[in-house]
């Protein structure tokens, strides 16, 4: 019982622990239940290159941004979303994803969601990678689990409103177009939303606290813009992986919104208590 409690505590003390666990479960489900064409070699290479690149950059930059956990999340995100028959493309996606975190920065904050950056660059530049939006099927149980687990993480890190605003406004727009205007039945609408790729994106990618606006007000505006653009691109330009592209190109907006509504940057592990030690230095309790 005690062990159980301590493992739950371990999961809850850093949202990244939960994220790693959940993304691993999804990957396991994809490979074993949905028989994705993802080989062990691909997974090992992607994880190896992300964590490796993270370590090298950390070393070079003097250990400033030591977060192998984030690197692992990026690796899992890549394994879940990016497909390629070329191993080199996957490795490069991983290396570029992590490098973007260290190279493309403004005001001590990296601009792009690393996994998103890796995915877009490899699709655009190498021409042999793709996203399979239909790969999850629409198994209700899985989609429910995905949303609940994602919701828990977002609740913990205080970014739940981003997903809710995004999904809610997209749903409303689609409802008016599909059901009210075009006259399709409700199950057509539900089928559009029972996409694992959309939910994974909504709960695990756009909510990356490091690359979305810091202030709540900006996040709501940001989500509304994202939803509007997704609605437009999906229905009029037929880009079925629209959110992933929009997230990439919306990056400047994050910088702008952070300027308009300034707020302190997110920290994965919040300082619980600051203790003044007699010789004057401040130590964060949970980093000891």
């Amino acid at each position: 019982m005690k062990e159980w409690l301590s493992s739950i505590k371990f999961l809850y003390e850093d949202a990244r622990h939960m994220q790693i666990l959940y993304l691993s479960i999804f990957l396991y489900y994809g490979i074993n239940e949905l028989s994705w064409e993802v080989s062990t070699l691909q997974i090992v290479s992607v994880i190896g290159s992300t964590v490796g690149t993270q370590m090298i950059w950390t070393k070079i930059t003097g250990g400033k941004y030591n977060s192998w956990k984030s690197a692992l999340i990026t690796a899992l995100g890549l394994c879940l979303l990016l497909k390629s028959t070329s191993l080199l493309t996957l490795i490069l996606a991983a290396v570029l994803a992590i490098s973007s975190k260290f190279v493309i920065r403004i005001k001590n904050k990296h601009l792009f969601n690393p996994a998103n950056f890796g995915i877009i660059i490899s699709i655009l530049v190498f021409q042999d990678a793709w996203i399979s939006p239909g790969q999850w099927g629409s198994s209700a149980l899985f989609l429910f689990a995905l949303s609940v687990l994602g919701g828990i993480i977002l609740f913990k890190i205080g970014r739940l409103e981003t997903s809710i605003v995004f999904l809610g406004s997209l749903f409303l727009m689609e409802y008016f177009r599909t059901v009210v205007y075009q006259g399709w039945e409700m199950d057509v609408l539900f089928h559009k939303f029972s996409s694992g790729t959309l939910l994974l994106f909504a709960f695990f990618m756009i909510t990356d606290p490091m690359t979305i606006p810091n202030a709540r007000k900006s996040r709501v505006i940001w989500s509304l813009i994202l939803a509007g653009a997704t609605f437009f691109l999906t229905n009029w330009v037929q880009i079925y992986t629209a959110p992933i592209w929009i997230l990439f190109f919306m990056t400047p907006l994050t910088v702008l919104l952070d300027k308009v509504f300034p707020q302190t940057k997110f920290e994965w592990i919040k300082p619980i208590k600051k203790v003044k030690v007699h010789h004057g230095s401040i130590i964060k309790m949970n980093e000891i």
């Binding site: 949905l34 028989s35 064409e37 690149t53 090298i56 950059w57 070393k59 070079i60 930059t61 003097g62 250990g63 497909k83 390629s84 028959t85 070329s86 191993l87 080199l88 493309t89 490795i91 490069l92 290396v95 570029l96 490098s99 190279v103 530049v125 190498f126 021409q127 042999d128 990678a129 793709w130 399979s132 939006p133 239909g134 790969q135 999850w136 099927g137 629409s138 198994s139 205007y181 075009q182 006259g183 399709w184 039945e185 199950d187 057509v188 539900f190 089928h191 559009k192 996409s195 009029w236 330009v237 037929q238 079925y240």
Partner: protein, 516 residues
């Protein structure tokens, strides 16, 4: 943005009165019995240009044939063609699921028999069994006739409508019989400003084409059901939507319908974006008697695979580079001749030959869709992926060694054969849910040959046929390899550069990196 972009792409509406239909929307002019169990479609996609060829297996009286095909634009005369029906047979025969046979050599005799690969007669293939392989304004109706063409035996009208009720009544008043609830399904397409491509058969022209108009002057030839073949219609349009409308075809059809899609692209495989694209189980060892039951075997296999995917996945049955210039094998084993460039041109692959040079970029995908109203509420949307990995649905038969097997090695062979055959039956059960208890004899045949039955404890399962993965382009012939290595080296270079700059800074400050 062009207006067309806002439109729903090709919607081929089909309402079948008996049995199933593809998105094709066969409208009966009278209460004729129409059969359209499995439809076949060839989709050619290059950029925003799509060419769709629809097989026509209409079997009623041709006078009753009519088809409504919603299209994104008013098609020009040149956008409509007639294709050869043989094209479908060829693509089907080439890409259908297949059996491959191996022959065991007799371990008691000292010679090697080469492995032979024999293709199963594709006439046994499921495809065939399941026939898978198989201007003026009418103000009152708010229906506009945008264009009128006569294309060989077909009379074609292109209509646009303002509301589904008007279109429905126009069709009814012009002698078409359409299902009651077609109106609801037509509505969303009208809202998307689709045009409707209405096809009828011009019987006089058909008689001329088939050379019986003179005969009819003297003899009253009766019209038999399915006695006249209607050729496939092919249409080409530009639209960024790459989809197949299946909803209209479900307007009154109950139950499941099958559709085989043969897709041809420059880049690679086609997959569905709003339903899962799964691979059909392949490369399984199956019992020898499957040779005579291959059709039923595959039908049941498909049924089970489909059920295990909640009846919603789209199945990949074949994927191969069929470019005229592709140096590798075009199938393994081949069950039908691979399509040649004339077939590709016929299908609408206009890049198959350019400047007298055969293309090296024609990728073929065969998808098998089984859909129903409950499981597939949305029309099928596709996208082209750069995935050039080859795939085929094939099942392996192993012919046993012949002759005397009484030597020691022969006895071991028999013991292994017992195990292999039991495994084959288990595979069969796994794939099709057949009750395999009735095939006990298949295993005992070799068990009875054992002088010492305990030998089966002493041998392992024996070698399984190595499944040689079909040739697929790996990193070796990757045209972007140089670029990738270049980028990777640049990142490493950048890392080194920053490292040295920082190091100099640290050294200048007399600090060790770890202490910063």
């Amino acid at each position: 943005m062009k207006k067309q972009m806002l439109l729903l792409t090709l919607l081929i509406a089909a309402i079948a009165f008996n049995g199933s239909s593809f998105c094709g929307f066969y409208v009966a002019k009278a209460d004729a019995k129409l059969f359209n169990k499995t439809s076949q479609i060839i989709l050619v996609r290059d950029g925003d240009k799509t060419t769709v060829t629809m097989s026509n297996d209409f079997t009623g009286d041709v006078k009753d044939f009519a088809m409504v095909v919603p299209v994104p634009t008013v098609l020009k005369r040149n956008d409509i063609k007639i294709a050869k029906p043989e094209l479908f047979n060829k693509l089907d025969a080439y890409s259908g699921p297949r059996l491959v046979e191996y022959y065991d050599s007799n371990p008691c005799m000292r010679y090697d028999v080469d492995e032979l690969m024999l293709s199963a007669d594709y006439s046994m293939a499921p495809t065939s069994i399941n026939s898978i392989s198989s201007g003026s304004t009418e103000k009152k109706y708010k229906v506009t006739i945008e264009a009128k063409y006569s294309v060989e035996e077909y009379d074609i009208l292109i209509l646009s409508a303002k509301e589904s009720g008007g279109l429905k009544h126009w069709l009814i008043d012009n002698g078409y019989k359409i299902p009651d609830d077609a109106e609801e399904v037509l509505e969303p397409y009208i809202k998307n400003d689709m045009k409707f491509f209405v096809v009828k058969v011009n019987v006089e022209k058909l008689d001329k084409i088939q050379g019986i108009s003179n005969v009819k002057k003297y003899i009253d030839v009766p019209e038999g059901e399915g006695s006249r073949t209607l050729r496939p219609l092919q249409i080409t349009y530009e639209s960024d939507k790459f989809m197949l409308p299946i909803r209209l075809g479900m307007a009154n059809a109950s139950g499941e319908q099958d559709m085989i899609v043969y897709a041809l692209t420059k880049k690679g495989r086609v997959e569905c974006t709003n339903y899962r694209t799964a691979k059909i189980p392949t490369n399984e060892n199956v019992p020898l008697f499957i040779r005579d039951k291959f059709g039923k075997f595959y039908v049941d296999l498909f049924e089970k695979a489909h059920a295990s995917e909640d009846k919603e996945a789209i199945f990949l049955e074949y994927a191969w580079n069929i470019s005229p210039q592709f140096p590798g094998v075009k199938c393994d084993p081949c069950v039908g001749p691979p399509p040649i460039y004339t077939d590709l041109l016929e299908a609408g692959v206009d890049w198959a030959v350019q400047n007298g040079q055969a293309s090296s970029d024609v990728f073929f995908t065969r998808l098998h869709v089984r859909y129903s109203r409950e499981t597939h509420p949305q029309d099928l949307q596709f996208h082209v992926t750069p995935n050039k990995e080859h795939f085929q649905a094939r099942y392996i038969l192993t012919n046993p060694a012949t002759g005397d097997l009484s030597c020691d090695e022969g006895q071991k062979y028999c013991a292994r054969k017992v195990k292999q055959r039991a495994d084959e039956l288990e595979n069969l059960h796994e794939l099709t849910s057949w009750n395999t208890a009735q095939y006990k004899d298949y295993v005992t045949e070799y068990y009875d040959k054992l002088e010492d039955p305990t030998l089966i404890y002493k041998v392992d399962g024996g070698k399984k046929h190595e499944i040689v993965p079909p040739v697929f382009p790996g990193d070796n012939n990757d045209p972007n390899r140089g670029l990738k290595i270049g980028i990777l080296s640049s990142v490493l270079g950048l890392m080194l550069f920053i490292f040295f700059i920082k190091r100099r800074k640290w050294l200048g400050q007399g600090l060790h990196p770890q202490t910063t």
